[in-house]
Symmetry: C2
Subunit: 373 residues, 2 copies
């Protein structure tokens, strides 16, 4: 158990004013229980639930199919099982909330995850409870990573960076995007990824779609190729990194654009310091693109990362959250150049008292990497 | 576009009595739009939405990040984009529902997927609409597969069966579960899987957890080893198959238990015929286990499969749905034998007028397979 994390949640819960907080999303139940109930991601009805009232021990509710695993992996002592299709997890949740004296109080639930169908059941079972969104509570705690979490993220990033480099080093004209993607996947899995996060891999001049998967497209000499990919490691820590290279031969125009993007990326990373707001970084990037005559229409250019793919805070307009030590922020400028291709760079940056610390680089990407050159 | 599928939905929508139906889950928006918006699975707020009123053309709402891809891949002409964090997809949805005249009528929404937070927005925007659960509509249409879907599922199953066989043929005492898992993953990915479904891989006498992932456990000669795994293929078709083998040497006890499980599996598969109910199959299995003196406490022993991991109908008590030609049903008996290990078999069975047709076998698994023997 990551005692620092659990203690931080305990304190935040006490300060929240909730009679109880209820976690129902795969991320937050994992964060609190530390048991991985994988099927919860694929079967939304098979909820795992953590109920926690201030100054009490938490209660962990899972489908009986997952009870052996929950008892084996979680530090939470009180595990209760419901038989799928015969009992609703909402019945056990309502019972637990009654037990901890929260049946008529303010209860924090994950309104951005819980389905309408389950919420209708819960509201009928506890008509006197006031259900409010618990997202701010979870966001606030999860945004600051513990030393243990930072160590896990850094090691996951190292595997991801090495995997991308190896797959891209092997890329040659005549191979398909899918072949390069299979190399990348194999490296990630053998490196320890327990699951893949969405894998974008796209080359050539028509690879504009933000989340384009590898196709049967055959690589041409001089094609720009990018990936935006990651894995899930070590129970639940995610990586999300982007790299852009040229296949076989890089033109001067590609090198120049890459250099601009790299310098911009470095400039943004250098802003990832205590006291800067997310919006500051976003606005600075928009201005930089505008000076070059480019539109920047993306709704965000980065995000916190940990056990969810986009954690709070995001680097977006209107996000006035100030960066604090312990936050891990992904910075990801990108640009599509018609007739040339798409550039995308993404690294994970830890905010420290002394400034930014990049967690995600094992190889040198400071100049356009040309495979097979 | 799979015109048979779309036409079937059109007819069911007209018969539903809904002023409009709204798809918001990754499965159902994909089913209707045929564009893969991968991030919808990982970022629940980044909804893609299909709004469809009877006798009209559907409207497809996506985050602007995904608009290029949506326009490229979907057959739906009317694509609308919302800027993430600046506009809510619920605003565009409410506008579309008003446009098609459904602002004060009965609107089918996916209450088992839509989050409470989005639903609260939608209810405020359209206070006069009556929102009812659209799950029965989608279930009914999706349960019957078209010829095109059956072809895709069969080809995905073939890759999965060959991948398991190859990985298991290579398993030797001294290897770790993780090494066998990496082989399996590599085979699935190079065979065309665009993503993995939860991969259970477990050996030895203490591998009871239903969804145990591969560990550092070192295989012993004579260990029972099982996998329950699959991939996502061809846009969105899933596989889900289980196989059990012995590593290096199979004992007589293992062979006898395997034979019982195999015969039981075959017997259940033979029941997958038009007119049988799901509950009939479940009850028959419980009785068979009881005759052997075994408890059978699992909430289901199979499920329909297609673009979701557990589709309607499930093979469970109380499920009185009658099997019909075109349904694809996964049958999966399993049994944990203390001191020996866990047996699990799972195959996908197509219901035809003439009886069951197993879609998921390329290798012979009718006797306990012993790797390296």
């Amino acid at each position: 158990m990551d005692a620092v994390k659990i203690e931080r949640f305990r304190r935040a819960l006490k300060a929240s004013g909730f009679e109880a907080a209820v976690a129902v999303s795969p991320e937050n139940t994992w964060y609190l229980s530390e048991a991985v109930i994988d099927t919860q991601k694929e079967l939304l009805e098979r909820l795992a639930v953590v109920v926690w009232a201030p100054d009490r021990q938490p209660i962990y509710i899972v489908c009986t199919n997952e009870e052996v695993q929950a008892r084996k992996e979680s530090w939470i002592q009180e595990v209760r099982g419901y038989v799928e299709y015969q009992q609703s997890p909402m019945q056990l949740l309502a019972d637990a909330l009654r037990e901890v004296g929260a049946a008529s109080g303010k209860v924090g639930v994950e309104k951005w995850f819980l389905s309408v169908a389950y919420f209708e059941q819960l509201s009928r079972l506890l008509p006197d409870a006031e259900f409010v969104d618990a997202r701010p509570l979870f966001n606030q705690v999860r945004a600051i990573k513990t030393a243990d979490e930072i160590r896990r993220l850094e090691s996951a990033c190292a595997v991801t960076d090495r995997s991308i480099r190896k797959a891209f080093e092997a890329a040659r004209p005549g191979m398909t995007e899918k072949q390069v993607g299979a190399l990348l996947t194999t490296e990630l899995i053998t490196g320890g990824a327990q699951a893949l996060v969405l894998q974008v891999l796209a080359a050539g001049v028509d690879s504009e779609s933000t989340h384009q998967r590898a196709r049967e497209y055959v690589l041409n000499r001089g094609d720009l190729m990018r990936t935006d990919c990651g894995g899930v490691f070590d129970g639940g820590y995610m990586t999300d990194m982007a790299r852009t290279i040229s296949v076989g031969a890089g033109s001067q125009r590609q090198r120049d654009l890459y250099q601009f993007m790299w310098d911009e990326h470095e400039r943004l990373i250098d802003m990832v310091r205590p006291g800067t707001t997310c919006e500051d970084i976003y606005r600075s990037h928009v201005e930089s693109f505008q000076r070059r005559g480019w539109d920047m229409l993306r709704p965000h250019i980065g995000h916190s990362l940990g056990i969810g793919p986009h954690e709070f805070p995001l680097v977006r307009p209107g996000e006035r959250t100030t960066l604090q030590p312990g936050m891990c922020i992904s910075i990801e400028p990108s640009h599509f150049e018609p007739g040339v291709g798409k550039y995308h760079l993404e690294d994970l940056v830890l905010v420290t008292e002394d400034g930014p610390s990049v967690l995600s680089r094992t190889a040198d990407w400071s100049q356009l990497f040309v495979s097979g050159a």
